[in-house]
Amino acid sequence: MKRKVKWDNLYLIIMFVILYTPIFYLIYYSFNSGGTMHHFQGFTLEWYKEVFQDTRLLIIVLNTFVIALLASAISTILGVMGALAIYYVKKRRMKNLLLTLNNVLIVSPDVIIGASFLILFTIIGIQLGFTSVLLSHIAFSVPIVVLMVLPKLQEMSPTLIDAARDLGANQWNVLTKVILPFITPGIFAGFFMALTYSLDDFAVTFFVTGNGFSTLSVEIYSRARQGISLSINALSTLLFLFTVLLVVGYYFISQRSSRLYGMGGRK
């Protein structure tokens, strides 16, 4: 019995080691004065300095975050509307059709999304650059938000709305005072998911970004194709720290909101 538990734990430990090795490998060598990802020669912060002196890179980082925040905010609004639309549609077939269309972009490979958007923007005549990247990010984030919000809506007891109507609330009151507060955790989750997808996206952006505009993923790709440069390592360390902060923040927010909204939901 005891022995079995040990093997189980060993398996999990190996899993976690493998999952985190590449990340810590990057971080470790970001301090290597040797300039390569092997043979650690000496500690240096030179690569970090290089990152902070690289104005082009900093602008790209800024671009990436602006795109991510804008895209996830707009797609959250659209996604909530979409979820409400699907929720209110009464006909089963219509509902299923909407859901299927919603999921198309989620299951589609990135290259397909990228290639088809490239055609779309070229036909409509939108210049490839900031606008096209932003529109694409909004487009592929909307279904994610819908999928995060819809279960919350379906979880909501229909009598809740009836109760609000009974107490004299109009459509707008029902939406702002009952529905939106109830689905807030779903909205937050959707926003964060959209943010991650946007920050993480490479393939779609790679297709629809023109020559003048670049996001972090695309930049890393083009630098990595030229070989190893430890400023990428330094950058990845900074990004990893940022991600951890984001996760911890998200964890606390979700803990708090589950305490606020999940009172009845706990078994």
Partner: protein, 263 residues
């Protein structure tokens, strides 16, 4: 009156669907009938059925299959063991955390690890196997892809296992089933939906990976994704790219139908 306000939500959403879901697919289909000069043709389809493209399609499917199978073999026990741990939500978060690190960075890390003097070769050296060429091989491609996809496989399986009524496992044991029989006849069949969802989340993207092939496999592995990227962004032959994309969409639809008959 009531109806109108509700339809307000439909308008922007349906607009989004038409513009970014329906239109792009139709455009891909439309473009697949044009050659590089802009002439209407079905030559692209003829070309697709030549041995070069068929072989590429086949190998793309083969790699995607391998990646899916290995991901499943590694992820299922992981998910299962995770559900047995005490702070399972925290451990799950730690499994998901690497997916929040930019994909390119993780791929880039393997450039170092698999390099001639990297960690992997150092380990091989220490084991007495000696230095091997790891980078730019199919092995490195499959390994890195599996690494990238494991969390996406773990998550749905973990959720399916969590939904499994534990008294069903008790019942199987009670009826005389050994641990293995219980797994084979009760646990696995009842978590098959999670497995399907995981396979879907891995197989389709695995068909279309191009950054990993470019960076890690050094053009040794050409997937459908690589070919599409090549045609759209390098040779500018959008017609042929769109044709390959059409087949990728068909493949995707088939995979979704096979894995998607969930209740």
């Amino acid at each position: 009156m009531k109806h109108n306000t509700r339809n307000v939500y439909l308008i922007p959403y349906v607009l989004w669907i038409v513009l970014f879901v329906v239109a792009p697919i139709l455009l891909i289909l439309y473009y697949s009938f044009f050659d590089i000069e802009g002439q209407w043709t079905i030559a692209n389809y003829k070309k697709f059925f030549t041995p070069i493209y068929l072989k590429m399609t086949f190998s793309s499917f083969w790699y995607a299959f391998l990646i899916t199978v290995f991901s499943l073999l590694i992820a299922y026990p992981t998910a299962y063991l995770l559900t047995k741990t005490k702070h399972k939500q925290l451990w799950l978060l730690l499994i998901i955390l690497p997916t929040w690190v930019n994909l390119l960075l993780k791929v880039y890390a393997f450039l170092g690890i698999f390099g001639t003097y990297g960690l992997a070769n150092a380990v091989l050296e220490a084991l007495g196997v000696g230095t091997k060429q790891i980078l730019f091989t199919d092995f490195s491609f499959v390994f890195v892809s599996v690494y990238i996809f494991i969390p996406f496989m773990v998550l749905p399986i973990f959720n399916a296992l969590e939904e499994l009524n534990p008294s069903l496992v008790d019942a199987a044991r009670d009826l005389g089933a050994s641990a293995w029989t219980t797994f084979r006849r009760v646990v696995f069949p009842l978590t098959i939906d999670g497995v399907k969802a995981g396979c879907q989340a891995v197989f389709i993207p695995a068909l279309s990976l191009f950054m990993i092939t470019r960076l890690i496999a050094g053009n040794r592995v050409i997937t459908l994704g690589t070919a599409i990227e090549e045609h759209f962004l390098v040779t500018q032959d959008w017609g042929m790219g769109a044709t390959i994309a059409v087949f990728l969409i068909i493949a995707m639809a088939i995979v979704v139908i096979i894995t998607g008959n969930r209740k």
